[in-house]
């Protein structure tokens, strides 16, 4: 029973930050129809910026809570700016090309960002552990947990709810949904699709970076961070269905639980159990768990 609880809690903790990252990926795909390989780089970027912010805050001997807030604020601002710049400055030039070509464009961005982060932050591991102590330790059913980890769960649930609410219950959200469903029709109804694209991409980058910032206190930042995360979030959105918010949530929980379960029960399977699930889902429901089949041209 204890083991079961451990797996569920560990899984949910994993799922919480994975969900935030995957949510960005699935939104970008939904609106721009781009499977963004550089998404993992934005995650890494967020983690690195967070580390710098935390270190800076500590240098001015601000309390850890202020460091935490500074970290989230700076990451959000920089990520949104980077997102808009990239979309307007680069991606815009490639719209209308083949899906695979767009994928490679983001791959090129991934390669470039990989070196940019190395140039700025170097190749040695960086830590930003101060906020990790922020919420103390908690005892839960005989198990000890770091408060920060548990706080991640409601934070990501709140982010998920806000995104869902924003998409389904506000005018702006409805416009975004309209662009997702039929871009041409939205243009003819007077929607400025360009702006929706830029905003959606920037928001996707912001979510990825936020995911990175939230995990930054838990991990050591070093090169290679991005390529692992992108594969995990790919698996999540493919399992859930590309472009689906609910799908990203379910996919994240599935992947989180699978990872936690394999760590505790079968450590040698940790790396491939996720891809196994992804392959299995694709075999039986290629559109993912949460995507309706769409009509196609014969």
């Amino acid at each position: 029973m204890n083991l079961f609880l451990t797996i569920v809690l560990d899984g949910l903790i994993q799922a919480s930050w994975l969900f935030v990252v995957a949510l960005g990926l699935t939104l970008v795909f939904g609106v721009l129809k781009i499977l963004n390989i550089a998404h993992g780089s934005f995650y890494a970027l967020g983690a690195y910026i967070a580390a710098s912010a935390v270190t800076l805050a500590a240098a001015y001997s601000l309390p850890p809570a202020a460091g935490f807030v500074a970290m989230l604020l700076s990451v959000s601002l920089i990520a949104a700016a980077v997102g808009i710049l990239l979309e307007r400055g680069l991606l815009k030039m490639f719209y209308g090309r083949d899906e695979v070509v767009l994928l490679l464009v983001t791959y090129a961005v991934f390669l470039i960002l990989e070196d940019v982060t190395k140039l700025i932050w170097g190749v040695n591991p960086i830590y930003a552990t101060q906020p990790y102590e922020l919420f103390g330790k908690l005892e839960f059913a005989g198990l000890y947990y770091v408060g920060y980890d548990l706080v991640l769960i409601p934070i990501s649930a709140a982010i998920g709810f806000l995104v869902w609410f924003g998409l389904n219950r506000t005018i702006t959200g409805k416009i975004v949904l309209a662009v997702i469903h039929n871009e041409e029709m939205s243009v003819s109804m007077g929607v400025r699709v360009n702006r929706v694209y830029a905003a959606a991409f920037a928001f996707g980058v912001l979510l990825a970076a936020l995911g990175g910032a939230l995990t930054a206190p838990k991990i050591s930042m070093q090169p290679g961070l991005s390529s692992d995360v992108i594969i995990l979030s790919f698996a999540i959105v493919v399992i859930g269905g590309l472009g689906s918010v609910e799908g990203a949530a379910v996919g994240a929980i599935l992947v989180g639980l699978a990872r936690a379960a394999s760590v505790h029960l079968m450590p040698q399977a940790e790396l491939f159990v996720i891809y196994l699930i992804m392959a299995a889902v694709l075999m039986f429901r290629p559109e993912g768990l949460f995507k309706r089949e769409t009509a196609r041209r014969i």
């Binding site: 490639f94 899906e99 464009v105 470039i112 990989e114 590309l242 014969i298």
Partner: protein, 330 residues
């Protein structure tokens, strides 16, 4: 795809390139070996891409070939280069035969994702398998050729260069013949519209499977070359960035000409080794910028540099199938 060039002319070209290796400096020789090996696997991606599917998991067969050859070499002491290439190709082909029929039902982004997932399954399994050296992989001995053992590094490099250029050249010729064949033309039809192909009485899944297996064979042989060149194999062979690089070469080349694949592969290796030399900390940055530049300014790949003129000349004769013309129009 280049109409008119006779296979015998191409054979002569391959022979000339091979002999040219005698006068190349040593560092170019190993660079050209890697370029030829990468061209082989990218050629497989081009073959498959003609059905409209891009595989992001060729690393699976690349690793399959590499590990297969390495295991056979260590178990039975087979060090012959040609035998190793054949073993690699067989390993890749067998894997392709198992996976191809499963995967042929998918298209577009799902095809890419599924191939990527499968190669990452293999990566995960290899990293955790201590019998195969885990994430460090293991070493194999120096390859020989027809009983000859090469102790001189330059001779060994040339041997490897010759074998890889000849294999890749032969594969290129085979691909050219394939592209002009019935199967090759039907593949283009599948890419245009797989349902209509089915209505014509052809099995789209079968056509995709055959092309997939061909791509897997090329990838397996390429894995054998990578193994012989490095004399080392590790799970990185199956990692998604490795596969991504091969797609990179294929897109760089464009889908119009076999020769373009070789040029693109060589260009990539040159850019990589020069930026490695002069900008050691930013070679990925240079590579990414290079890729963006090619996609932006040569949307149809490096091949369009010389194939474009050719198209103009033969268009009046209507010698091209509709699909190829459409492709050219893109």
């Amino acid at each position: 795809m280049k109409p008119g060039l006779h296979p015998l002319v191409m054979l002569a070209l391959v022979a000339a390139v091979t002999l040219f290796g005698r006068v190349l400096p040593t560092w170019t020789l190993s660079l050209a070996t890697i370029a030829a090996s990468n061209a082989l696997i990218a050629l497989g991606i081009v073959v498959l891409a003609r059905t409209g599917n891009v595989s992001f998991g060729q690393g699976l067969f690349f690793a399959g070939g590499g590990y297969g050859v390495a295991l056979v070499a260590n178990a039975w002491g087979i060090t012959d280069a040609v035998a190793q290439v054949i073993i690699g190709a067989v390993c890749g082909g067998l894997l392709g035969l198992v996976i191809g029929p499963l995967i042929a039902r998918y298209s577009g982004i799902f095809f890419g994702m599924l191939t990527l997932a499968l190669s990452m399954v293999l990566y995960g399994a290899l990293v955790k398998s201590s019998a195969l050296g885990g994430s460090d992989g293991f070493n194999v001995g120096r390859p020989s050729l027809f009983g000859m053992i090469f102790n001189d590094t330059r001779e060994a490099d040339f041997m490897l260069y010759a074998v890889s250029v000849i294999t890749t050249g032969l594969a290129g010729i085979a691909a050219t013949i394939l592209f002009r064949s019935e199967l090759g033309l039907v593949s283009l039809a599948v890419r245009e519209n797989n349902l209509r192909t089915e209505y014509l009485g052809l099995s789209a899944t079968r056509i995709i499977t055959i092309n997939f297996v061909i791509a897997a064979i090329f990838a397996g042989a390429s894995g054998a070359f990578a193994l012989m060149a490095q004399r080392h194999v590790d799970p990185q062979f199956a990692y998604w960035t490795t596969s991504g690089e091969f797609v990179f070469v294929a897109v760089l080349a464009g889908y119009q000409s076999v020769a373009a694949v070789f040029v693109a592969s060589l260009a990539l290796e040159l850019v990589r080794s020069f930026s490695n030399l002069y900008l050691p900390n930013t070679w990925q940055l240079v590579l990414g910028a290079f890729l963006l530049g090619v996609i932006l300014f040569l949307p149809r790949g490096i091949g369009s540099l010389w194939v474009r003129d050719r198209h103009k000349r033969i268009k009046p004769a209507a010698a091209l199938p509709v699909a190829a013309q459409k492709e050219a129009a893109q």
